[in-house]
């Protein structure tokens, strides 16, 4: 049976145990008139208790088995390989195990090397045994669990408390997924980056000005030394983000001011959601628009006034990205402007200030920390944005701040380095993780700063 089949059987078994457990507990209970054998909990809780005993241990084993079995089987298969194949470097061994897996997936008959054929047969044999054993172990465990659970059905068992405890632990586990995700991100990105910096010095990466990640696959290949100076990428990212923020911050902020201070409730009720549509449009749509409409438009306009604009100019990507961030900026600013107490505005009006004077000299200074926070969040959004730049910005790493030329960004390079098939251990692939680390650290700092500023500011007026 495959994992899905086992899961389905398991849930049927659990439902069945619930039903049996509930029935059994009801049968145990006798009305108070006849001796009064009262259950501690409602019958349903006894049912849940049996279902938990039946389902959860089996489920845990199933998960562990599914996750671990593949690497164990691979190890066992490799142990059976001829010795000359075994005594190879780690890269080679992982390559061989991949080949074996491919053979099993594509049909063993396609094998050319007899040793590989034997290994593939061994692998698929072990896989079959593992699957069989998994089915048996999990289902037996479920039945044992069911038997244990049934023994707990006594009027004195505090079934509700036990079930609630389990629920509580499950909830804690769910909440802990957030921690696990962060740990997963940090470890995966960090480990690969450390391996990358083992091959390429960190200073070369951080301060080098030449980026061409094409490493030679064979030693005798020409022109594939590969250099990993990330400065052009950082500059390109900053350039496009700066253009985006130059569009998004004024437009977003002024929109927020108009909506919160001037617009009638009617206008606000319709315009605010309309603006938020912009935030809901998938980024790939913006990318398509930038690449096929905005970029040619900018190039044509440039040609008309005698400027030589690259067809994948930073300007096009930046402008479209700016539009994408407008609603983000405006809704965050809107929140902080609304949080400024009305009394401060009234004080200013009382002194005879006009509305715009009040906004400029009272509301905005009071809301400034929040707006700075919004700005930082918008910046982190711009730096991490991927699809628009992948589709509309270039691939060549030019070190320039001219918005009319093509530049490339950190996210574009991550995507180009990691899409398509390649070995996992080459410096080229690992470089993507080093870029990811840089991206993660920068956006994390921006986010933490922004959240701190916003929180401080909130406390001030609450």
């Amino acid at each position: 049976m495959n994992t899905l089949g086992i899961l389905l059987t398991l849930s049927v078994l659990a439902a069945f145990s619930y039903y049996i457990g509930r029935k059994r507990s009801l049968a145990l209970a006798t009305p108070a008139k006849r001796g009064g054998n009262n259950l501690h909990s409602l019958p349903g809780y006894y049912g849940y208790l049996v279902a938990i005993w039946c389902g959860i241990p089996a489920l845990i084993i199933l998960l562990l088995w599914s996750v671990l079995s593949d690497s164990i089987i691979t190890q066992m298969t490799l142990a059976h390989l001829p010795t000359e194949l075994q005594n190879q470097s780690g890269d080679q061994v992982s390559l061989i195990s991949n080949q074996i897996r491919n053979l099993v997936a594509n049909g063993i008959e396609t094998a050319t090397d007899p040793a590989m054929k034997v290994a593939a047969e061994e692998y698929s044999r072990l896989q079959g045994i593992s699957n069989m054993a998994k089915t048996v172990v999990v289902l037996v465990l479920a039945i044992i669990g069911f038997a244990i659970g049934m023994r707990f059905i006594k009027p004195t068992t505090r079934a509700r408390n036990q079930v609630e405890h389990v629920i509580q632990y499950v909830m804690i586990l769910c909440a802990a997924v957030a921690i696990l995700t962060t740990v997963g991100i940090i470890t995966s990105v960090l480990f690969e980056s450390i391996r990358f910096f083992g091959q390429v010095p960190a200073t070369d990466f951080l301060f080098g000005t030449h980026w061409s990640p094409q490493t030679a696959i064979r030693a005798d290949q020409v022109g594939g030394s590969g250099s990993f100076g990330a400065i052009p990428l950082f500059v390109g990212t900053l350039l496009i983000s700066a253009i985006a923020l130059l569009i998004a911050v004024p437009l977003g902020l002024m929109s927020a001011i108009y909506l919160s201070e001037y617009a009638s409730p009617f206008v606000r009720a319709y315009v605010k959601p309309a603006l938020e549509i912009l935030a809901g449009i998938p980024t790939v749509v913006y990318g398509f628009f930038a690449a096929l409409t905005v970029a040619p438009f900018i190039r044509d306009v440039g040609a008309m006034i005698g400027l030589n604009v690259a067809s994948e100019s930073a300007l096009a990507a930046g402008v479209v990205m700016g539009v994408m961030i407008i609603p983000f900026m405006s809704s965050l600013s809107d929140d902080v402007i609304n949080a400024v107490p009305q009394a401060m505005r009234d004080g200013s009006y009382g002194m005879g200030a006009t509305k715009s004077e009040t906004i400029k000299q009272v509301v905005l200074p009071a809301a400034l920390p929040g707006i700075v926070g919004a700005f930082l969040l918008a910046a982190s959004r711009a730096i991490g944005e991927t699809m628009i730049v992948v589709m509309a910005a270039g691939l060549s790493a030019n070190l320039t701040v001219n918005p009319l030329e093509a530049v490339t960004t950190v996210t574009v390079q991550i995507v180009t380095l990691l899409t398509g098939d390649q070995e996992f251990d080459s410096a080229k692939t690992l470089a993507a993780f080093a870029l990811g680390l840089a991206l993660f650290v920068v956006t994390l700092i921006l986010n933490i700063l922004a959240l701190q500023i916003v929180r401080k500011y909130r406390e001030q007026y609450e």
Partner: protein, 427 residues
């Protein structure tokens, strides 16, 4: 003295009011610009994409005689499948213009119709082998260049070298038009096929099914996880506990981590360490689940928080346990808010593509995926792939796919709005 101040103020009033008006105008212009961009974007996509919902067909008179097909009257289905439908189509096209002799022009003649034409005949014959030996009139798909011409994208006045349709082809097409042999019909191919290198045969079905698989799994994982986490953090978690605070900080930060980082996580952990199948909806949904969890948790917590304490106290007062009060009373009341948050998170996931590029869901997928571990692609990634293709016809199909994607997102957001309006309670 006071008069001079009043006078000063009065004198400056005009300027100040002008400044006020200007400031207000800036705000108005900002909004107008943003909305104008939205309209421009929509107009651009729709004007490009709507024509893709129809495609051009050419009427052919073909003779399905056994000799041309290279089969006998009592052929097995296998023989019927491999019969030479290509030559039937070729003869059918040549019959339209018997005068054409030159080799190059003959080739051009053949490419009036799509490569799909022979498979169309194959499907017909396989469905009804009795057709062999008869004359049939069939509407077959036209080639994408012809399709573009028929939709009016080819400028007849341009120099011949700049056109994909040459002068002699123009003559043919005009003749076909005059005979009523060329026509636009609803583009069913677009909805019933997978990806293809030929624009006229490319469809979104495989990408759509990939999206459906990925999104269902994402919902299946993210909803229980997110809601359980939110309930714990809002209702049960001890206050001022280091770990609880740590979880909250993590959730807030994860909410603003760039999506591509989740893709890196998926590649390094799910694919490299756990050995899950690359390009599969399973891995994609894991990545998307982690990505939208913060959204769901934050929205669900807000919904739970808005349920007044009196509900909890009432339940506790009549003897419910803490867990019962939460699960029987608070959560059902918070459900509309929780669902709204989940739908918004899902709408975000439907349009997301960057992290899925990382886990390999960017393959060229012709077949419709049959399971959660089959290689698949999803709608936004299909859009990304098509956007890279130079053919004019692909641009049109990209826009059409975007229209479908936007329709899904609008539907989901509308659902969220309706839910909120219908069930929102003010306490």
């Amino acid at each position: 003295m006071s008069t001079t101040i009043t006078e000063k103020v009065r004198a400056s009033l005009g300027k100040r009011y002008a400044r006020e008006k200007r400031f207000r105008a800036y705000g108005f212009i900002s909004i107008a610009l943003s909305l104008m961009f939205l309209v421009l974007l929509m107009f651009n996509i729709f004007s490009k994409g709507l024509p893709a919902f129809s495609s051009t067909y050419i009427k052919l008179d073909v003779t399905l005689d056994a000799q041309t097909l290279g089969v006998t009257a009592d052929a097995t289905p296998e023989q019927l499948r491999t019969a030479s439908y290509n030559s039937v189509v070729q003869k059918g096209v040549q019959a339209l213009f018997p005068a054409v002799e030159e080799r190059k022009q003959k080739k051009a003649l053949k490419s009036l119709v799509s490569g799909d034409a022979q498979y169309e005949l194959q499907r017909m014959v396989l469905a009804d082998p009795k057709l062999i030996g008869t004359n049939q009139t069939v509407w077959v798909l036209a080639d994408d260049d012809i399709d573009m011409f028929h939709k009016g994208y080819v400028d007849r006045t341009a120099p011949e070298a700049d056109r994909r349709i040459k002068d002699f082809q123009l003559v043919w097409l005009d003749k076909l038009e005059a005979e009523g042999r060329i026509d636009s019909q609803f583009n069913t191919t677009f909805f019933t096929r997978g990806d293809s290198r030929e624009p006229e045969q490319a469809g979104i079905l495989s990408a759509l099914m990939g999206s459906v698989y990925t999104m269902s799994l994402t919902l299946l994982f993210a909803f229980p996880l997110g809601v359980m986490a939110a309930i714990y953090l809002e209702e049960f978690a001890p206050k001022n506990n280091f770990w609880v605070d740590f979880i909250e900080v993590n959730i807030n930060n994860l909410a603003s981590v760039p999506s591509i980082i989740f893709g890196l996580l998926g590649l390094a952990v799910f694919i490299q360490i756990f050995g899950m199948p690359r390009s599969s909806p399973l891995v994609g949904s894991f990545v998307l689940t982690l990505m939208i969890l913060p959204t769901i948790i934050i929205a669900s917590r807000a919904a739970l928080k808005s349920v007044p304490p009196s509900i909890r106290e009432g339940a506790l007062g009549i003897g419910a346990s803490k867990t019962q009060s939460v699960f029987h009373h608070v959560v059902p009341l918070a459900m509309p808010g929780i669902l709204t948050g989940t739908i918004i998170g899902m709408a975000h996931a439907v349009g997301e593509s960057a992290p899925l590029l990382m886990v390999g869901m960017v393959a060229f997928i012709v077949d419709v995926p049959h399971g959660i571990t089959d290689p698949a692609t999803i709608l936004p990634v299909q859009i990304y792939l098509w956007a890279d293709s130079p053919e004019r016809a692909f641009t049109e199909r990209t826009s059409a796919a975007i229209i479908i994607l936007l329709a899904f997102m609008i539907l989901m957001n509308l659902l969220a709005i309706v839910l909120r309006k219908q069930f929102e309670r003010r306490w």
